[in-house]
């Protein structure tokens, strides 16, 4: 007889409990076959009754053994609430239900003496997002010439690269004509919404390729110059050698994974990469570093990264960098020179109380080699992190971006080092609105990662659903290298839906630009924003309305 003891983990300790209706279940096996987490299994249960159906006591034993689907209970095999069982069940007989009284967080730590790790995103977001408290409140109504979103042409390009102020432009007047006497820093003008850095390894090869295809397609078929950042997991040589490299921003982070292949591919490149992004930190887990669990290190990952199958940690700090100045000198200079100063180089940091100081420092940039400042807020996603980092570290992006912008304005240097922001943008499924508001607050552009995964079919959310990106068992083939799971993901469909989302977003962005009368990006046009929340209005220095 199975026994239960006090210190054993039990069903009511778990975050998710399976609601199972044995009457509706036909034992088709689909739920158990589809669950990648080994969170459910078939089993048998006793049904026993001793009854008497006479006028005098005449005991009769009724005994049945019934096959059932059961939830597994353990620190390793447990339901993540992904709901794939529910999707495949033809009879609505099974589904995960959130356990309000979960004790999993304490059980896990107390049993395994190990920090709880998971992927996904912060799970403590209970308040309405700041961006949802902001509206575009200044609409051209018999004031500014309003534009028509569907007919007007809009100049929706954002800079990736160092912008020189007018008085530093290397122009001379020779014989009454303007002559440029030296090269200006390289600037790529790109779509103001780009796909943020997600590595090969964190993502399945299908997901990564689908994004690369979508980005190429957006550029070549739709006319949106969207870029994607490679993430710190290297880049396939075939892509490095293809003409599509120009749409890819290469990333270098503390682990420097994959750069050997990038460097060796240089002589064979048909096109320059779209940019380089130095990653210092990630908004979702600042200070935690990259974490690719061994079970996701498939052979192609191992090859591209040049490391064996093991837990791969990108250190939370760059091993060779000790100061902002040194970062500029070593990383910016080196990576600018890597492509002969023809590819702009930007840097990404996790939003932090110190971001403004860093930005102020970068703004000096006497060598004109700082091509962008990417600030990543805490509401972003990640493939794997310690939960304590996900839930308890980081800085919201909105006020931080605003502060950085204001700092540049204070110096009269806004726009010189483009500001790009991210961190939970599009969490309300509307990236256009978030992007517009961030730009109005001072961003030159925004980057988005997690949303791409959600477009692709990620079933996770900000309330602890799924979030198993770290396990290598992503049920929809996005964050896994397990071939049987990766094959669930449809490259073409995923690319198509990303393309569609961008087309829709582009339309929506114009619908925001038109009413404020901007035919170019509304960078810094905070006059068009209002907030219904006084604290937000005051903090961001925008109009408070009610």
């Amino acid at each position: 007889m199975a026994t239960m003891k006090v210190n054993q983990i039990s069903r009511d300790d778990l975050d998710w409990q399976l609601q199972y209706n044995t009457d509706r279940c036909t034992f088709c096996g689909k739920c158990v076959a589809a669950c990648p987490f080994r969170a459910i299994e078939a089993g048998v249960e006793k049904r026993r009754k001793v009854i008497s159906d006479h006028f005098t006591p005449e005991p009769k034993v009724q005994f049945k053994t019934v096959p059932v689907i059961k939830q597994c209970v353990g620190e390793y095999n447990f339901c993540r609430g992904c709901g794939i069982c529910e999707r495949v069940c033809p009879n609505e007989a099974i589904k995960p239900v959130r356990n309000e009284d979960s004790r999993f967080g304490v059980k896990y730590r107390a049993t395994l003496a190990d920090p709880y790790k998971r992927g996904g995103r912060a799970n403590l977001a209970t308040e309405k997002r700041t961006l949802d408290k902001i509206k575009v409140g200044r609409i051209s109504q018999m004031t500014d010439p309003s534009l028509d979103a569907s007919r007007h042409t809009f100049d929706m390009l954002a800079p990736f690269g160092r912008i020189l102020p007018a008085d530093e432009m290397p122009f001379d007047v020779v014989d009454g004509k303007l002559v440029m006497n030296s090269a200006t820093p390289k600037v790529n003008w790109i779509y103001p919404i780009i796909v943020g850095d997600m590595s090969i390894g964190a993502l399945s090869w299908r997901m990564w390729e689908a994004m690369a295809i979508a980005v190429a397609y957006l550029n070549e078929q739709v006319g949106l110059p969207v870029r994607m950042c490679s993430g710190e997991g290297g880049v396939p040589v075939r892509l490095l050698k293809s003409r599509y490299l120009k749409y890819v921003i290469l990333q270098i982070a503390s682990g420097h994974f994959g750069w050997n292949r990038i460097i060796n591919a240089m002589p064979h490149m048909q096109e320059l990469p779209g940019g380089i992004l130095i990653k210092i930190g990630q908004g979702a887990k600042p200070g935690d570093g990259g974490l690719l669990q061994a079970k996701k290190v498939a052979s192609h990952i191992s090859e591209i990264r040049g490391v064996p199958k093991a837990d791969l940690l990108s250190p939370p700090n760059h091993q060779g960098l000790y100061s902002i100045e040194e970062s500029v000198q070593k990383m910016f200079l080196s990576l600018n020179s890597a492509f002969k100063f023809q590819v702009p180089v930007a840097i990404k940091v996790a939003a932090s109380a110190t971001s403004v100081s860093v930005y102020n420092n970068l703004l000096r940039d006497p060598y004109n080699i700082v091509g962008g400042f990417f600030v990543d807020g805490l509401a972003g996603g990640t493939g794997a992190a310690n939960e304590i980092s996900l839930d308890h570290t980081g800085h919201p992006i909105v006020s931080k971006l605003r502060d950085c912008y204001n700092a540049a304005v204070h110096q009269g240097k806004q726009g010189q080092i483009p500001l790009w922001a991210a961190g939970g943008l599009g969490a309300n499924w509307n990236l256009a609105a978030d992007a517009f508001k961030m730009m109005a607050l001072g961003a030159n552009g925004v980057f988005t990662g997690k949303l791409m995964l959600q477009i692709a079919g990620c079933v996770g959310n900000d309330h602890g659903k799924c979030n198993a990106c770290n396990t290598g068992l992503c049920p929809v083939g996005i964050c896994t290298q397990n071939p049987t799971l990766v094959k669930r993901l449809d490259i073409d469909k995923t690319a198509e839906q990303i393309v569609n989302y961008f087309i829709a977003t582009d339309n929506e962005l114009k619908k925001m630009l038109a009413p404020i009368g901007n035919s170019s990006l509304p960078v810094g046009r905070s006059d068009c924003l209002i907030s219904v929340d006084r604290a937000v209005a005051e903090r961001l220095n925008i109009q408070y309305s009610c």
Partner: protein, 776 residues
């Protein structure tokens, strides 16, 4: 009622008349009955509409130098001729007027025109014809332009006809400007010349006959109105004309973007960017798949795990297999199977063994263990034929105890010639010499000994092996098995120890019928199983009060102690003996336990005096390896209590292992360590299938009915539950040569694991496909 033309002045007395006053002047003249107006304007707006006469007399305006919106909201019956150009919005919201513009028009000419005709002798500006529409209750609007229109023309056009003749603009890049026809949903735009930047909302088409008829009919009238009949011949050449019509609602829904798949196959990096790193077939799997795309796959692994009874049994007797044979009705085979493992099923399994098998029986999770002890007793009469060919090799076995006889049995079974050297006068070792009759029926033991001897085991009794004989045996025999047991009783040298009776000697005397004398009060030092036998023997010899003492928790099995207590014995611990006096035992804390006889039974040691000292370790035991092989001579094997005192079943098991390794040695094969298959995990055996039975009812059941109670751990009971429950009907039962197996077909199986989940015996196991992949 028609009067002559009235002149309306835009400047009176050198001063410009306001639009309002000029229009009021027009209204007043209209009231006066004037219907023909000659307006000499000075930029006044909205001249020409909406105006009408009550009797339907047409209104005629001739306008010079107008402001914006000439003819706006013009009504049927109104004709407006503008001499010279006009600014924006000529014919705006035209509701039926005929407007002749003998010059260029500004932006948004014919904007929102819904009826009437607008003729323009020159060019018009941006957004001309925008939002034109056609109300079916009214004649369709027409908008004729001799030259070109500006950008964004015909935006959101919903109906009507526009004709842009492009005269003199044959080389222009676009007679419709840039981005014409955005959002156009209806109507027709005819044009002559080039166009570029046309919106995606429309189709660009060649003219059909009715189009040509329309143009050829309309052009003369248009050209007459604007007095440009000279252009007719050029414009009548229909080869330069095209028309634009709006896509229908349905047509607009069709996406014009290239399918991603085509992009990937036609333009993207050939073979994919990961094509050099991994195999990719672009197949999109369902959540539920068969074959290699399953997450897990099942394997039917009969007897992959040991049943707990088998695992716990030192002889490895697989009771689950015996019961399976019973279940198949093969009673004889079932009772004989045990003889493949042990020659003493009735004596040892059935009587003296504490039955470790039952202690761990899975059935205990439901009620009480399967009656394995009784099953052993049933094999008393069973026999098997030793059909291995006789072999020439001879093996000497020293000792005819359970280890020696077990080795002899198995060696004979393998065809070897076996000589057993026994120092005692009787065969059977301690089984025969020391176990009280109460615990082992002599008649059963005799039967089982006979069964062994009948197989041609040659036992030489009263044959003590000394150094010389041992050397000779090693020389004469292919192998020697030392199974001498432990026959030197251990004595603790406390004061008075010489008075001790040795338990082993005591029991031997009893079993030989020598009736050793005991006093009324007997103390037995030791409380192990052997000590309990001494207790039983003491009572049998007439003792009235027996006390067993031990320095630690008694090592005897509970059943043995229960037997002793039942006879009246006391078992005390911890008790430390200080000395032995004539009164009895004095303990270390000074108490006296009165005794007439004190018997010591704290263990026995083997007597290796016939073995060279150099073969022994510092504990005085023979140095050996894990194959029971003597380190000093690979042909000499040690087994049974000579290694370490244990149960009879340990001796039987070790004897069997030594025999098998002798066989392997003589056949030149690798010796065996006899590692067991892992015991089946508890949760794989499904106790939910079994209803608990009242122990009384179990007792009433015959042993052969245990087929229903045995849960057949790890060993298929052939119930075919898996076959019936498999949702994909993937499982079949195959039978070849009387052996059956269940097989899951990978092309049907979805890897749900239901077979493994419901299998009562735990025979099906699920494996991760992932690991298969990752390993590869």
């Amino acid at each position: 009622m028609s009067k002559e033309t009235v002149k309306i002045q835009g400047i009176i007395d050198g001063k410009r008349v306001s639009t309002q006053n000029l229009l009021k002047n027009v209204y007043a003249k209209l009231e006066d009955g004037y219907t023909e107006f000659e307006v000499d304007a000075s930029g006044q707006h909205n001249i020409g509409g909406p105006l009408w006469t009550t009797d339907g007399t047409p209104l005629k305006f001739t306008v010079k130098n107008p402001g914006q919106r000439v003819g706006s909201m013009g009504m049927p019956g109104t004709e407006i001729t503008i001499n010279g150009s006009a600014p924006a919005d000529v014919g705006w919201l035209n509701a039926g007027a005929t407007i002749i513009l003998n010059g260029d028009g500004g932006d948004t000419t014919a904007h929102c025109a819904a009826s009437g005709k607008i003729y323009v002798a020159g060019r018009t500006g941006t957004r001309s014809g925008a939002l034109m529409k056609h109300d079916p209750k009214f004649p369709s609007p027409e908008f004729w332009v001799l030259k070109t229109v500006g950008s964004f023309s015909f935006e959101f056009m919903g109906g009507g006809v526009a004709v842009v003749c492009g005269l003199g603009a044959e080389e222009a890049p676009s007679v419709l400007g840039d981005r014409s026809c955005v959002g156009m949903v209806g109507g027709t735009v005819y044009f002559r010349g080039n166009v570029k930047g046309l919106s995606n909302d429309v189709w660009l088409m060649d003219l059909d006959e009715s189009d040509k008829d329309f143009l050829l009919a309309g052009l003369p009238e248009f050209l007459e109105k604007i007095d440009r009949k000279d252009a007719l011949s050029i414009l009548s050449d229909m080869s330069g004309w095209k028309k634009i019509i709006a896509k229908t609602f349905e047509e607009k829904k069709v996406k014009s973007l290239m399918p991603i798949r085509d992009f990937r196959l036609g333009q993207w990096v050939e073979g994919g960017i990961f094509g050099d790193l991994l195999q990719e077939d672009y197949y999109v799997a369902n959540y539920v798949e068969t074959g290699d795309l399953r997450l897990k796959y099942p394997e039917w692994q009969n007897a992959r795990y040991s049943a707990p009874c088998e695992y716990n049994c030192p002889v490895f007797i697989p009771t689950q297999k015996r019961i399976a044979l019973l279940r198949q009705g093969k009673v004889k085979e079932a009772l004989e199977l045990v003889l493949e493992y042990s020659p003493f099923p009735a004596s040892v399994c059935g009587q003296v063994c504490p039955n470790l098998c039952q202690d761990i029986c899975s059935r205990k999770k439901v009620d009480i263990p399967v009656k394995i002890k009784q099953l052993g007793q049933l094999s008393k009469e069973a026999d098997i034929v030793f059909d291995a060919p006789e072999r020439a090799e001879k093996v000497a076995i020293i000792g005819s105890g359970s280890a020696g006889l077990s080795a002899a049995w198995h060696l004979r079974k393998l065809g070897y010639q076996v000589d057993v050297y026994e120092q005692d006068s009787v065969v059977g070792g301690k089984l025969k010499q020391v176990i009280p009759n109460e615990r082992l029926a002599q008649e059963i033991l005799a039967a089982e000994l006979k069964r062994i001897l009948d197989k041609g085991v040659n036992v030489k009794t009263n044959s003590k092996v000394d150094k010389d004989l041992f050397d000779k045996l090693r020389k004469d025999y292919s192998a020697v098995i030392v199974a001498i047991g432990a026959h030197v009783p251990v004595v603790i040298p406390f004061e008075g120890h010489e008075k001790l009776v040795k338990g082993l000697d005591f029991l031997k005397e009893i079993n030989k019928g020598q009736k050793p004398a005991v006093g009324e009060k007997v103390v037995v030092i030791g409380a192990g199983n052997a000590a309990m036998d001494v207790v039983i023997g003491a009572y049998e010899m007439g003792a009235k009060e027996v006390t067993a003492i031990d320095i630690q928790k008694p090592a005897a099995f509970e059943a043995e102690m229960e037997h002793a207590r039942h006879l009246g014995a006391k078992i005390l611990w911890p008790v430390f003996t200080q000395k032995l006096t004539d009164e009895g035992i004095v303990t270390k804390d000074g108490k006296l336990i009165p005794a007439d006889t004190v018997i010591i039974a704290v263990g026995d040691r083997p007597d290796f005096s016939f073995i060279d000292k150099s073969w022994l370790n510092d504990k005085g035991l023979v140095k050996m390896n894990e194959y029971f092989q003597c380190e000093a001579d690979e042909k000499v094997f040690i087994t049974g209590d000579a290694i370490k005192q244990g149960l009879f079943t340990h001796a039987l098991g070790d004897g069997r292992k030594a025999a098998i390794n002798v066989d392997k040695l003589l056949n030149g094969r690798k010796l065996d360590k006899f590692e067991k298959a892992p015991v089946i995990p508890q949760d794989k055996v499904k106790d939910a299938y079994y209803h608990p039975m009242n122990p009384q009812r179990v007792e009433e059941l015959g042993t052969e009915d245990e087929t229903g109670r045995c849960m057949s751990c790890g060993f298929c009971r052939d119930c075919s539950f898996c076959l019936e429950v498999c949702p994909e009907q993937a499982i079949t039962r195959k039978e070849v040569d009387g052996k059956f197996e269940y097989v899951s077909n990978p092309s049907k199986c979805i890897g749900c694991g239901i077979c493994a989940g419901v299998c009562p015996c735990g025979v099906w196991t699920m494996y991760e496909m992932t690991e298969k992949y990752i390993e590869s």
